[in-house]
């Protein structure tokens, strides 16, 4: 009973938040609604017993991703209304619905048609976090490491792209040149 109430409540909230995200004309509203939606989604993870995933969802999305978006938005002019496309709404909605239904149908097909066997069945009496740790660092070790490398690369790429004077190499420059650049920066600041 409690589960059903929680599911419907959070389902409603999530849908509402995401709907606001994609329809609002205010970028700030969209950002806030998205952050809220992310937190509500973590609620489903808790309901489903994936405690660790829920925690990660809150930390990564609301903590890191949303903060990044917030910083990003500071670069852009977000105060004015966002102009939207005035296309045929019917086409957009029907295409989206169709695609979503198809994807789910394809994912469901093997589940419905055959008896799926669990590869890594959950063991009773052991916490979800522990289980996740065991599976992640045994069966999925290589994907995990690859993901780590990928994040590192993404981080470097983000810094290089967004940072200033990233086309200069301080190690290859003489002390005098570095000094010159620093002086120029100071002048700009003052």
């Amino acid at each position: 009973m409690f589960e059903a109430v929680a599911f419907y409540l959070f389902a409603f909230l999530t849908i509402a938040m995401f709907y606001i995200t994609v329809t609002t004309a205010q970028a700030l509203y969209a950002l806030t609604a998205l952050a809220a939606g992310m937190i509500f989604i973590s609620a489903f993870f808790f309901i489903l017993g994936a405690d660790f995933l829920g925690a990660v969802q809150i930390i990564v999305y609301t903590g890191a991703v949303m903060a990044l978006y917030a910083f990003g938005m500071m670069f852009f002019d977000t105060t004015r209304d966002v102009k939207e496309k005035n296309g045929n709404k019917f086409i957009v909605v029907s295409l989206a619905t169709l695609a979503a239904v198809m994807i789910v149908a394809i994912f469901m097909a093997p589940i419905v048609s055959t008896n799926m066997q669990a590869f890594y069945p959950a063991i009773e009496g052991i916490g979800n976090t522990q289980m996740v740790g065991v599976v992640l660092f045994t069966k999925y070790l290589i994907p995990f490491e690859v993901a780590a490398v990928m994040l590192l690369v993404a981080m470097v790429a983000g810094i290089v792209l967004a940072g200033k004077k990233m086309d200069l190499s301080l190690t290859k420059m003489s002390a005098a040149q570095i000094k010159e650049i620093e002086d120029k920066d100071k002048k700009v600041l003052s």
Binding site: K85, I91, V92, L95, A96, L98, A99, M102, I106
Partner: protein, 638 residues
């Protein structure tokens, strides 16, 4: 021996390739010399092979490489040197060596000197493939190759409209005949499962007569085209537009005899179907007479010789059709020698007379062109069949064969034609070399050809005189493979009567020709009663056959083509254009998709995803429920 086979085969190819390198450049004397040397090398190799075969050596049979091997079809690049092909190789290489050397002088002032040798050597190579191949497919390659080279050489002076026209005529007529030949080859493969001579011919014995008749007729259609037999004969006379050495080599000595070679090569086939053989013999005799009659009145020196070639090809077919294959082959060889000599002599005369071809405008040339006069006289004697020259032995044997086989009509026609042959040959000789010097009216100053050209011709002269002595050894050589039999007429008296009678008849014809023409003094202008008689006109216009072809084949064909062109425009072109237009309009309409607007692109991407996903779902469902769907479909009666 294989070594010599390959040398004989590929030396002409090397020569052709080498000459082809210089086709764009100005005349280079060494091109002609090197080409001649290479062809001479081929001749030497052929001679070695001939001595090998003559000495009772084994037939040289090599398989150079596999050409086609798919399923049951196996065609190698195989070559065989047996008694028949070695004879042909000797004829081809000997005549072509002489013609190559002769051409160095003849083409001396021509811009296309180097190109000429490239074509000429390519022809020799194709001809060698034709005669040496051990299967029908290789023979066909050579067959088409000589056709191509013949086209290139007839139209060698392509700036002349008439030359290109004649080249195309020859090529197209040969294509018509080649279709028949190709069908014949297909039938051979269809019924015997192989194109190799040594597999196909023994298999013929097991086939029924109607199939064999079909094969024989279709192969003979190919031979008719290449050897210019009636009704496909018109191209040969027109082919004289090419340079005279070409006429000597291709349109007298070698290529046109390829049809005879084919019949001789397929002797095992034609021995099984004597009724087709009889048809070939009758057609041969008819063509012999038919061509000779046209040669009687023609006023173009080269055409007269061309008609005589046609006539002699008729003799060969008559012999081959009657089963006297070795006689046909022997006549082919002897004819190659004296006819090439005749043509080369005519070339000398043409050179001297600045390309004038009408013998009525010559006369009295023997004073300035003694060498040529002697050669042409002897060649004409050989052609007429006067003892002891080459033609006597070969032609007389054909007559004996016809007599011994009791085909009196054919025999009679051939004897009569022999008289005509003698008449028109010496009409030519008398008009060119004797009588008044009519050319002076036209202000021409004739001169004898280069000495080395005459020396080059001398082997042919000697052969035209003495080829008769080869009859016995030749017979002994080919006896084994052609199942040859000597034709013995029981009564010696009959033989002597025939011999002497023919000789006297021919001699009288020669004397008549001399009497009539050796003191000719005027250039006919079309006003004499003889020139206005019906028969003269009929013969002079070649029985109106070219006219009929023009009127009843070419013109209707043109009209049909014009009509078909309309159909083509309205149906074929329209549908092709329509298809193209569909793409154009589709592209024009869908251009908006590529607006460069990423938002639109995203929409299209989603639409594409939906499309692909629905396909996946549909096929997934179909696969999942295939049994049920099949049950439903079968219930519906599909």
């Amino acid at each position: 021996m294989e070594k010599y086979l390959y040398i004989a085969l590929f030396a002409p190819l090397v020569s052709s390739m080498f000459s082809a390198l210089f086709t764009n450049g100005p005349k280079k004397q060494f091109v002609g010399i090197i080409a001649s040397l290479l062809i001479f090398t081929a001749f030497v190799s052929s001679s070695i092979l001939l001595t090998h075969i003559l000495g009772g050596g084994e037939v040289v049979h090599v398989e150079m490489m596999t050409w086609m091997h798919t399923g049951n079809l196996y065609i190698p690049f195989g070559f065989v040197v047996d008694q028949i092909s070695v004879t042909m190789m000797m004829v081809v290489t000997l005549v072509s060596t002489i013609v190559h050397v002769y051409s160095i002088g003849y083409m001396d002032h021509d811009k296309g000197f180097n190109r000429f040798f490239a074509w000429l050597s390519a022809f020799v190579f194709s001809m060698m493939i034709l005669v040496m191949s051990d299967n029908f497919a290789g023979l066909f390659i050579g067959w088409e190759g000589v056709g191509l080279c013949s086209w290139g050489l007839i139209g060698f002076w392509f700036h002349k409209d008439i030359a290109t026209w004649a080249a195309n005529e020859a090529f197209i007529m040969n294509r018509i005949a080649d279709l028949g030949m190709l069908i014949g080859i297909f039938l051979v493969y269809w019924n015997t499962g192989s194109l190799q001579y040594d597999i196909a011919f023994p298999a013929f014995a097991n086939l029924d007569t109607s199939t064999l008749t079909m094969i024989g007729i279709f192969l003979f259609i190919g031979a008719m085209g290449k050897s210019a037999q009636f009704p496909l004969h018109t191209w040969l006379a027109d082919a004289m537009e090419g340079p005279t050495p070409v006429s000597a080599l291709i349109h007298a000595a070698t290529m046109v005899t390829a049809g005879v070679y084919l019949v001789i090569r397929s002797n095992e086939l034609y021995s099984l179907i004597p009724h087709v053989g009889l048809f070939i013999a009758s057609l041969g005799a008819f063509v012999a007479l038919f061509a000779a009659s046209m040669a009687l009145v023609n006023r173009d020196m080269k055409r007269v010789i061309a008609y005589s070639t046609l006539s002699q090809l008729g003799y060969m077919f008559a012999a081959a059709g009657l089963g006297a294959y070795w006689v046909a082959l022997f006549h082919l060889m002897a004819h190659a020698f004296f006819k090439a000599l005749l043509f080369l002599g005519a070339g000398n005369v043409m050179h001297a007379m600045h390309d004038e071809l009408d013998p009525f405008k010559m006369g009295g040339l023997k004073k300035v062109m003694k060498g040529t006069w002697i050669m042409m006289t002897i060649a004409s004697l050989a052609l007429a069949g006067i003892f002891p020259f080459a033609g006597f032995f070969s032609k007389d044997t054909i007559l004996e064969a016809a007599f011994a086989e009791h085909h009196m009509v054919i025999y009679g026609v051939l004897v009569f034609t022999a008289g005509l042959t003698a008449f028109y040959s010496f009409r030519l000789v008398a008009l060119i070399f004797h009588g008044e010097e009519r050319y002076k009216i036209f202000g021409i100053h004739p001169h004898e050809a280069y000495k080395f050209m005459l020396i080059a011709m001398s082997p042919l002269l000697i052969l035209a005189m003495i080829a008769g002595v080869f009859q016995e050894p030749f017979f002994n050589m080919v006896e084994e493979i052609l199942g040859a039999m000597e034709y013995h007429i029981h009564s010696h008296v009959t033989v002597w009567i025939m011999l002497v009678g023919t000789q006297v008849f021919v001699g009288l014809a020669i004397l008549f020709a001399y009497k009539k023409y050796s003191s000719w003094s005027t250039v006919p202008d079309g006003s004499s009663p003889m020139e206005n008689s019906f028969i003269y006109k009929l013969l002079y216009n070649q029985y109106y056959i070219p006219f009929a072809y023009e009127e009843y084949v070419v013109k209707p064909y043109n009209e049909i083509s014009a009509m078909m062109w309309e159909v083509d425009k309205k149906v074929v072109d329209a549908s092709v254009d329509g298809i193209a237009n569909i793409f154009y309009t589709t592209g024009e309409k869908t251009r908006d998709m590529q607006s460069g607007n990423l938002s639109t692109m995203l929409k299209w991407m989603v639409a594409g995803t939906v499309g692909l996903l629905s396909l996946a779902v549909v096929f997934g469902l179909a696969a999942r429920y295939s049994d049920e769907i099949l049950a439903i479909l079968s219930g519906l009666g599909v």
